[in-house]
Symmetry: D2
Subunit: 349 residues, 4 copies
């Protein structure tokens, strides 16, 4: 299943075309909408004040409520745009943002309004595509869930078992431990008051993938497939499977997951490997963590450069921004994981 995302933050519409969707799926558009609502802006003081209905419309690939196997095109209109807020950044790139790199790549022809095609708004069609992927996965008993694992150093409770993630998606602030969640929210609000932003991490689990999928080689490696989807999510700067960076602190005797037999099935007693050995699924949940950088758009003055004159200038950003992207990124990371899981399963190829 191949997805192609198009659109700009302040253009007419954003959207996605999904190729390879198997025919005959009774696509639940309300479920797609619910996923979009999870990442929708303007719901609390923790997120940007921009208000978007984010109603998804299916242009093709569906007939009488079912997918036809033809490309599925979904579009979402753009509404609440304050394009003039962005005039100041046209030639004055925001530090930490894709503005400067994008300016060069687009040879100065970039749609700079609201970050254009680089905007976090482009994660909406990704969530829509992921919602379709989730429905396809559900038919095979595969499930994807995630939680905020940390914000600004404040950690959620450790994920002992993937099943703990059930129900988290319904929460306004998707953590396992609501007390930790309140501390995180406090940190976000403090950053906002300081005209600043904070980073964090999302942990995600995919359950139900059978053992033996993927391969060790370039291109079919499960970690490689997942990471390609995850790094395409704006702000993701690291991806770690299972014990992840903690492997660097371990001995093999701690890191190795002992095999056991449970109900006649081979399992591992621990899951440090994050469900993947040698690039192949081992039947345990695929678990990974993605680090998200702090929102680069902050109200504090910053050092930039005028790309026309080549002079160093101070930049004050207008516009409405999330003081922390992590809460709204949870369904986005799930969507990327769902698409990756479809790729690993060969759904739609």
């Amino acid at each position: 299943m191949k997805h192609t995302i198009f659109g700009e933050s302040h253009g007419e519409a954003i959207g996605v075309v999904l190729e390879g969707v198997p025919a005959g799926l009774a696509l639940d558009l309300e479920a797609v909408q619910r996923e979009l609502d999870r990442r929708r802006p303007g719901r609390s003081a923790l997120s940007t004040a921009r208000k978007e209905a984010d109603q998804v419309r299916v242009l093709s690939g569906m007939f009488e409520g079912k997918t036809t196997g033809a490309p599925l095109a979904m579009v979402i209109g753009n509404a609440d745009q304050h394009s003039s807020d962005y005039d100041s950044i046209r030639y004055t790139p925001r530090p930490g943002h894709g503005d400067y790199a994008g300016f060069l790549k687009s040879r100065g022809c970039q749609d700079y309004r609201g970050g254009g095609h680089f905007s976090g708004r482009l994660t909406a069609p990704l969530v829509a595509a992921g919602a379709v992927a989730k429905q396809l996965l559900a038919r095979q008993g595969v499930w994807v869930g995630a939680h905020i694992s940390s914000i600004y150093g404040i950690c959620d409770a450790a994920l002992e078992e993937a099943g703990q993630l059930r129900g988290v998606a319904e929460k306004d602030f998707p953590v396992l431990d609501d007390a930790a969640g309140r501390q995180m929210q406090q940190a976000i609000l403090e950053a906002k008051q300081a005209q600043d932003s904070v980073g964090g991490a999302v942990e995600c689990a995919v359950t139900g993938l059978s053992a033996g999928l993927g391969g060790p080689d370039f291109g079919c490696n499960v970690e490689g497939i997942f990471s390609q989807y995850l790094f395409a999510v704006p702000a993701v700067k690291s991806v770690a499977f299972g014990a992840g960076v903690a492997f660097s602190l371990m001995r093999g005797s701690q890191a190795n997951d002992p095999f056991a037999v449970e109900d006649g099935k081979v399992i591992t007693k621990t899951n440090h490997a994050g469900g993947i050995n040698g690039g192949i699924t081992n039947g345990m949940p695929v678990v990974f963590e993605a680090t998200l950088r702090p929102t680069p758009s902050i109200a504090l003055p910053q050092e930039s450069v005028d790309l026309r004159t080549g002079e160093e200038v101070e930049l004050k950003i207008k516009g409405r921004h999330d003081p922390c992207i992590v809460p709204r990124a949870v369904p986005v990371i799930e969507a990327a994981a769902a698409l990756a899981a479809c790729a690993v399963l060969g759904i739609g190829s």
Copy 2:
């Protein structure tokens, strides 16, 4: 440039075919051999006792010392094999290894001897391919270097500037701070004596990539391209760009890299972004860290399962293994990064 690696640890030969190598490169085979020597086993007490000459032979794609543009096939013979050491693991998978997942994927037909196609030995052809990539990159002023950034929690000196990595490749133990290096070696030897192994991390920098390469979207994202190459290296379990996981502890005002002008060129004063914003290079060095898990093959007894009977059994592994894969992984990570850099530059596509 597409690389296809083939071979098994105890087969006749291992090798790689590189498609898309531009014609006219005066390929320095001695330089390829030097890279292979950097990862060659059997050089010290820190690595496996297996001895391999690892002489590379070019089968095609070269004529009169230059590449022709046709596929470049390179093979490396296998020599010092103790296949009988592996009889015990045929149906008793080693914890932490690809044995079990590979058994399922191959429907029981896996070449189990020495890990077969899953063996770390398959990184030799990757290094050969990377050595070709390095020579192509050098023509464009792009350079790749790496160091051991940590082993079992012992950290090398922080990399302040990519130039520090020059000269590290020549070291027997490739670190910036040799005192830290000695501590790391001590940790490896202690693990070996305890019949155990240790993990660590490699940090790598790619300099000379111009600004504006890549893109924000799935498939052309620079972080996504690099990570796909890196996770295809056995034992890599996390990949982090720039400040990486530390972004989760930061505020935007700390994380953002201020712009400045130096010699008429736009630079950033810091490089927390690891040279990539919005999936696009920004002209600063691309810097990333990869975590490598401890070698799963350890001499300590471990819990496994007999896949024929479904019974839990204790496993004692024979064979010769690295107590820490990290030192030999340095040129492998560089090779993966070099191939990724070629992909980002569009060399050979």
Copy 3:
């Protein structure tokens, strides 16, 4: 440059997303529209009576009149639909059409109205994409032109030289020899009166491609690249380069194109190879012919099967159809060739 076409004949809209369009192209939307007008239905008695404005709308990837390098999404609304005409074919596939194969592929969930995603109407977004490709090619001096080479055995004048194709695009009936063209039109009208249809062929030339592009291997072969684009055009059943099928009647001494030097440049005195040797361009125009089958939708009664009951039935098709698709296919073949030429040149990759 990757194109993804979506939509159905009687859906809300059809469209295409073009990835990899280089930034900075001052896209001439009127020129895109002119190409669409060349294939627009309802212009004469020779084509279907369906009337469509076929106005293209750019949703993304353009800003202030220029491409930005982000995906370019173009949509075209559907208007003049007579969906009820198609009720009879829902479970009674039309011979020669994709109905039956599509029914199986879509597991019975196919949008059968007007052929759904299989409709020739889906060539409109292909033409739009090709029009963008033509503008990119023009910047490199590459030009694409075509003519009707035969209909129902009536042949146009032989193409002696690619330059003859200039001006043909502006003709209502795009042939070199208008007398032959009148005979062809007569044959089409006779077929229409007989409630039947006729097939034919389109010959196309691409000029300005430099020598040395492509390669002999699978995936980079110029003939292979072109044919992949051409067979994706509905109704194309054969693709032949240069002398094509006539090579089977030739001796080598006739078939080989003698080399010569003209104005200091290596040329060939003839172009039987169609500009391609060993899968690589040789600097002469790339010339090929594509055969298009007769429109399968004819008003004559035909033998079909009721897919519900498995009974053989007689089928009478309603709906409005082209008695010959070849005239409207000329700009479509050009569009496919333009996209193929971009791929050969590596534009957008």
Copy 4:
């Protein structure tokens, strides 16, 4: 299943790496060798005098007689080389050959000996790969057969039914009608005596592909997939499915294949569509014809150019060449079709 062919005519060895071969195939290497023997040179006066044993050796991907799922590398040594025969063509390209285009592509670094990587000899590894594909297809009831359909205008008997091709592969001269075959051989010998060569065509059928495979869109279209494999066979200049170019002479009422029910199964009474409608298999045999140009290497003097001086020169070719490539191309076309059929079925993806 992805195949990568490497090697040069006068290099050490040629070979192929097949990725994605499913594990557990008891690969019959003798059957692979038999396919190679079908295209082996030096068996009669009709083919080149070069003698090659063409013994295939498996380097990887097989263990205890079965495929493991890891890349399958097969190599074939080169033996009977007369490299000095080719000195004259180093800078004097042979008309009709890839020499000139290859010279430019390789920036003058081409291995010119025996045509280097452009040599028809590179079809040997393709046949080996196709032989593996045939064994995989056989497990699904899919079979591939071909015959010489014409040489220099002399036609074989028409293929009424794919089953007629059974047994043809065993013939020394693979035609349906041996009398026609003798005429063809006469034409080849006459061309040889005239120091010339002749072209022809191969018709191929793939039986057993179920209905509903493929799709109408670019990249998944069955005709497009087959043609990409077929045009990668040197000398193929046209590919036509079913009635092929004859569609241009037909009315729809003749071209359309009437549906019928046979033994409860939907079939078509004729197979003008060549088993494909709308880019999708319809359950009938996939039938196509490929035209092969006359061997460009002929002993008659030809007009060429000295690429060093830019002067027109007369070229007299030495070396040993097939006066007609078509007989030896039959197993090559079958191999390409077998690999294409695996792609259509999704084997190894």
